[in-house]
């Protein structure tokens, strides 16, 4: 939809007839909502070269006159929208149509924009580029935590995975640039290999049945979307540097882009070096991190009907894992839980990363061809190739620490073809076919039997989504089919070691429907219901071995069947003038055959002692929750925001709570924006607080240690932008956990061993030209 409208925009860029004299040229046009096509009144159009602008009228029309021949940079603003820039080489009177990407909430540097995408019935939340680069020293998942209903499951300071409405891992698809992220996504201690700097938007679709994306997303879909390169022949760029006090970390990113005659291009490079982090009262030894990423994007409009895009990214990371969290058996774990300060804690800060550590490399190559036949039909064919190399190093005897204890190489090939047809009267059909092949191989260099076996998977998916918009009503119906075939090659756990082959085939379907109804101009209701089937993954069927982090032996279950989930999401958005915005979202999900790890009564005796045994089992589960957001501006420069997330997960067959469900949490912020001055713009201060409740919906015997208490974290930030000619320099300072509170979070697996992070101040410089 979005690309299609951009294309329309290109078509309309063709100048209209008319002879013009010098400096009597005009640019006129209409500002429209990208999703609905409804004209947007009272937006502003600013011409940088003239330092002047006009506003669009009540019908979204605007007209700039008295322009000379030459190059112009135009900037379009509308309340609740992202700023859009456009380059124009003006030779005669020109008519343009501008499509604005709409957010229901106002743009603010460190605010997250909770919004309903205007052209879908599923609820989603988005963070934009400004907000991303403000906190880009953090992991992707930590950024998403700012959204209601989204949290993280962590393994210490450097490893986090997103949890959407209580579900994570295999149940949340992460799409990087439209390609489902491959890699070892099954592991709770395997963070997604994505550099947030490449994204223009990061969105989370919370509804079930985001059917256009590869199957099995019971929880939600995380979208990392780079922007199209702006049509501007001048070289533009951005350098962003962040220094953080906790871990004495440096994060540097540089981005360059240009719309050259031969093609439009953009490159981005990131380096991150962080040392040992600290908890309020001690250092967290060996929790440093290194990250080096590059990405390149190339776009070429071959003719008015055909566009090609090429994208490549390399993600490279090395992450230290708290030395004191590396344990040998259950006795060690009990001892670690009782210790005040983790074992192996050093007094000296260091950037060195020792064992245990992870080293991961991820390549993504994407080639997209988009063909627009006419203003109704378009076809996009996309290829995505990924290579993921993950090595995990443990503390081992006799210099074997240099040998990885886990070494996996994964290849992933993806081919997709999507056809869109726009009919009359706001009806549209989107349909597609997707093929995916994944090959996963263990490197025997480890000298250890692999935790998950070598395997290949073949997936075929097809979907169709029909949408119609009429007056104040938008409805959507969709269906999807997925065929999954696994080839698994195992090494037996008994002696003599034997190689066995197993095959599994799953046929899954998904259905979804949604309605959006604008009851009043101030009130919008969304209902989305989806029924999704997810086939079990190889780790759930074939895991075999010791999971050291949790001191348990995990065993897969080859009899697992597909999970069947039904989720309903109902949300209401209330917007009262520009002062009050309220969003309430309630959801309920029922999962039949929910796959989970069941602790068995027996202990497995090994030479390292007795270990609890966990097996993958299926049960019926429910997840119900509420996300609330309210934003209020009593006067123009002051804004109050409050957010609340509530979730309850239950295993209804066994009559007990589900484990590892995020705690309920409440957060709030107050911000004050100063009036823009001559030189200083966008100056604002804010104070924020976050209270995470204790997870009380859990039985005492469901965890090895007592559940951590609730905690409160205080933060604050200040920032301003200096404008110098055509460049901008932004300086901002943000503090986290300013009270240096000692706390442990239920969702962080490091909580058995150490306190969470102490206070941190990040200073950020951003230079844009």
């Amino acid at each position: 939809m979005r690309h299609f409208s951009s294309f329309l925009f290109f078509l309309l860029l063709f100048p209209v007839l008319g002879q013009a004299q010098e400096c009597a040229l005009s640019i006129s046009g209409t500002v429209m909502d990208e999703g609905t096509g409804i004209p947007m009144s009272y937006g502003t159009v600013y011409v940088e070269e003239m330092k002047n602008g006009v506003a669009s009228d009540s019908l979204g029309n605007f007209r700039l006159t008295g322009l000379c021949k030459g190059a112009y940079h135009l900037r379009f603003n509308h309340i609740g929208c992202e700023t859009k820039t456009l380059f124009l080489s003006l030779t005669r009177d020109t008519v343009i149509r501008i499509n604005m990407h709409h957010h229901s909430e106002l743009v603010d540097e460190v605010m997250v924009h909770e919004h309903h995408s205007q052209h879908e019935t599923a609820a989603s939340s988005t963070i934009n580029q400004d907000a991303i680069s403000e906190v880009a020293n953090k992991d992707l998942s930590e950024m998403l935590e700012q959204m209601t209903g989204v949290s993280s499951i962590k393994s210490g300071a450097g490893i986090s995975k997103p949890v959407v409405h209580g579900l994570s891992g295999n149940r949340v698809a992460i799409l990087n640039n439209g390609i489902a992220q491959s890699g070892q996504q099954w592991g709770n201690d395997h963070a997604p290999e994505i550099d947030p700097y490449v994204a223009e938007h990061i969105s989370v679709v919370k509804g079930a049945g985001a059917l256009a994306y590869p199957g099995g997303s019971l929880g939600g879909v995380v979208l990392i979307e780079p922007d199209e390169i702006e049509n501007d022949p001048h070289l533009h760029g951005n350098v962003n540097y962040i220094f953080q006090t906790n871990g004495l970390g440096h994060t540097l990113n540089a981005r360059l882009q240009k719309y050259d005659k031969w093609a439009a291009w953009r490159v981005s490079a990131t380096a991150k070096v962080i040392g040992d982090r600290s908890a309020p009262s001690y250092l967290l030894t060996n929790t440093g991190k290194r990250e080096y990423n590059v990405a390149a994007q190339l776009e070429k409009q071959l003719n008015p009907h055909w566009e090609m895009k090429l994208y490549y990214s390399l993600f490279n990371t090395e992450i230290g894992i708290l030395r004191g969290s590396h344990i040998g058996n259950l006795t060690d774990l009990q001892e670690a839980i009782e210790r005040e300060v983790p074992f192996f804690t050093e007094d000296e800060f260091s950037y060195t990363i020792n064992e245990p550590r992870q080293a991961v490399q991820h390549h993504l190559l994407k080639l997209e061809s988009r063909h627009v036949f006419n203003e109704h039909q378009s076809l996009a064919v996309t290829y995505g190739g990924q290579v993921n190399n993950r090595k995990e190093f443990d503390v081992r005897r006799s210099d074997r620490s240099d040998l990885p204890a886990l070494s996996l190489l994964q290849w992933d090939q993806y081919l997709e073809s999507v056809y869109k047809h726009f009919f009359e009267h706001g009806r549209q059909l989107k349909t597609g076919v997707q093929l995916r092949m994944t090959d996963n191989t263990n490197d025997p260099e480890t000298g250890i039997l692999p935790l998950i076996p070598d395997h290949r998977s073949y997936r075929l998916g097809a979907f169709a989504i029909y949408q119609q918009e009429k007056d104040r009503l938008l409805y959507e119906l969709g269906a999807r089919y997925d065929l999954t075939h696994f080839q698994v090659v195992t090494i037996s756990s008994s002696i003599p070691r034997e190689i066995e082959r197993f095959y599994h085939t799953f046929n899954n379907y998904s259905l979804s429907g949604g309605v959006r109804y604008r009851v009043l101009p101030q009130l919008k209701l969304n209902l989305n219901v989806g029924h999704v089937l997810r086939s079990p993954e190889v780790n759930e069927m074939y895991s075999a071995g010791l999971h050291q982090g949790v001191s348990g032996i995990e065993e897969g279950n080859r009899q697992l069947r597909s999970e069947q989930a039904t989720k309903a999401v109902l949300s209401a958005d209330v917007q009262l003038r520009q002062k009050l915005f309220l969003q309430l979202l309630g959801y309920f999900q029922y999962v039949n055959n929910f796959i989970y790890l069941q602790p068995e009564d027996e202990f497995r005796l090994t030479i390292r002692g007795a270990f609890p045994l966990f097996t993958y089992q299926q049960t019926n589960a429910t997840l119900a929750g509420l996300d609330a957001l309210v934003s209020y501006e009593p006067i123009e420069s002051i804004r109050l925001v409050a957010k609340y997330s509530f979730l309850r997960g239950d295993d209804i067959s066994n009559g007990q709570p589900l484990v590892y469900m995020p705690s309920n949490n409440l957060s709030g912020s107050v911000s004050y924006a100063f009036k823009d001055g001559e030189k200083l713009k966008n100056t604002a201060v804010s104070v924020n607080g976050r209270y995470v409740f204790k997870q009380t919906h859990l039985n005492a015997d469901q965890d090895l240690a007592p559940v951590p208490e609730g905690y409160f974290l205080l933060g604050a930030s200040i920032g301003t932008t200096f404008k110098l000619k055509n460049t901008k320099l932004r300086l901002s300072v943000a503090g986290e956990n300013l009270l240096n509170s000692r706390y442990r979070d239920y969702m962080n697996r490091q909580r058995y061993f150490a306190d969470d992070l102490g206070w941190n101040v990040s200073t950020r410089l951003n230079f844009e030209f």
Partner: protein, 187 residues
């Protein structure tokens, strides 16, 4: 247009290719050279006689079959010289892992915890810093009794911790490489 048609044709072809693609190769079975399958605690009576052997064997590692544990009977009021041998019996001939432990003596220590039986175990060896290792030990059996003996091997313990050199595991820390428990009978 022609181009797109070609792609459309390629799609089913690609599908067929994908689903009939050749089988995944056999994995190479890793050489588990670090694995400890066997612990043997050999007790030789000081006055001579047949050595007694405590043996814990788990040939297939963490999973698979249960380990096999054999114990011996100690004579009352007798002293023994104890030697621990660690083996990897998946190799042929078996790898002697206790040699690796001896090479990294300062990073390893065995601990002997007795419960119920009238037995005391004392260290009879030392690393380069004069701290005990526990590969060699002396065992004194008292009056007839029964109980258990737990042998623990810690990697990277804090050897200077309180009581650690005397064999108290409480402040040792580090991580456990071995923890096996034997029934002990003194007659």
């Amino acid at each position: 247009m022609k181009y797109t048609k070609n792609i459309l044709w390629a799609l089913p072809l690609f599908t067929v290719l994908l689903f009939t693609a050749c089988e995944k190769d056999d994995p190479e079975i890793p050489n588990e050279e670090e694995l400890i399958t066997t612990l043997i605690y050999t007790l030789t009576p000081d006055g001579g006689g047949t050595p007694i052997e405590f043996r814990f064997t788990d040939l297939d590692g963490d999973g698979g079959n249960d380990p096999v544990i054999t114990t011996g009977t100690l004579a009352a009021n007798t002293s023994y010289t104890g030697v621990i041998t660690l083996l990897n019996e998946t190799e042929s001939p078996a790898d002697v892992i206790s040699d690796e432990v001896a090479e990294e003596a300062d990073e390893h220590q065995f601990f002997f915890q007795v419960s119920g039986a009238n037995v005391t175990v004392a260290y009879a060896d030392a690393d380069g810093n004069g701290n005990p290792i526990g590969i060699e030990s002396t065992v004194s059996a008292g009056d007839a009794s029964t109980g258990t003996l737990t042998i623990t091997l810690r990697h990277e313990p804090n050897k200077s911790g309180d009581g650690v050199a005397a064999g108290d595991i409480t402040n040792a820390g580090g991580e456990t490489d071995i923890e096996v428990t034997f029934q002990v009978v003194i007659q």
